[in-house]
Symmetry: C2
Subunit: 130 residues, 2 copies
DNA sequence: CGAAAATTAATAATTATTACTCTTTTCAGT
DNA sequence: ACTGAAAAGAGTAATAATTATTAATTTTCG
């Protein structure tokens, strides 16, 4: 059986995502890896993000200004999106969020696999800049 | 001072959104109103959705398959998105969700204005179809 | 090594959304 | 009701993120 990440570029994309907490878009990943991988193609970044997503190694955490933003930290946590600068920040949970499921009426015949909680507002930098 | 002129098309878009719980995309709104307003333009739908959004009469609740989905019910509630058919359903809260805010670490210097909670999974129709 | 399968670069195509230009509608003040 | 300026719209072109295609390269593994 073939291993999952046998391509250097896929590995590089994954490791870059693991090493940052900026929740970048495909475009940023492409530009960041380009110097080290001069023949990298943007299509490769998109395709690998999809492959990694299917393998639950990466997830899309938000769409900001029409751009999908990715995160390789799969432990359950939420995000804050700045409406002004588009920055995406982590928001870690104080306690188990399964609590959350008790707060909403869930149809019993639905198969709820995951959830995504996003907070919107203005980040500290943008607040002080105004 | 003149703020906004009354427009019957904007009104129609708003009323259509109020009358449905399917959380439609711009495209669906356009096709639904087209028979009654034969000269309606898709650009008009997009522009008015943005105007209504700025006036807090409408909000985007999710992006499904690259399409923004809208809701005119502004009372706080969450949504379920079916990963298979893309359906967006309402999930009303059993209790006050301000409780929710206590579960995450919120940086004090951030101005959190709103949040969006989306559940993902498979709806009952898609489950029984498999 | 060598063949089969997976991956990629480069490019073309797709598609949701926005911008633009000119026309039409709306409405406050007459 | 009439008018003129502001707002809104139609129709079309443009934008930009993402996806599909295809031929070439790389990787895997017997």
């Amino acid at each position: 059986m073939r291993t999952q990440n046998y391509s250097r570029k896929r590995q590089a994309i994954y490791e870059l995502l693991m090493s940052t907490d900026t929740h970048p878009a495909a475009d940023w990943i492409y530009n960041t890896l380009k110097p080290k991988y001069p023949d990298l193609s943007l299509g490769t970044v998109y395709r690998n993000l999809k492959v990694l997503e299917e393998n639950h190694m990466v997830r899309s955490v938000a769409v900001v200004n029409g751009c999908e933003r990715y995160d390789a930290r799969m432990s359950q946590h939420s995000h804050f999106v700045c409406r002004r600068c588009g920055k995406v920040e982590d928001m870690f949970h104080k306690e188990d969020m399964s609590e959350l499921l008790r707060c909403v009426t869930i149809a019993k015949d639905h198969d709820v696999e995951s959830y995504n909680l996003i907070f919107y507002g203005h980040c500290s930098e943008c607040l002080s800049a105004e």
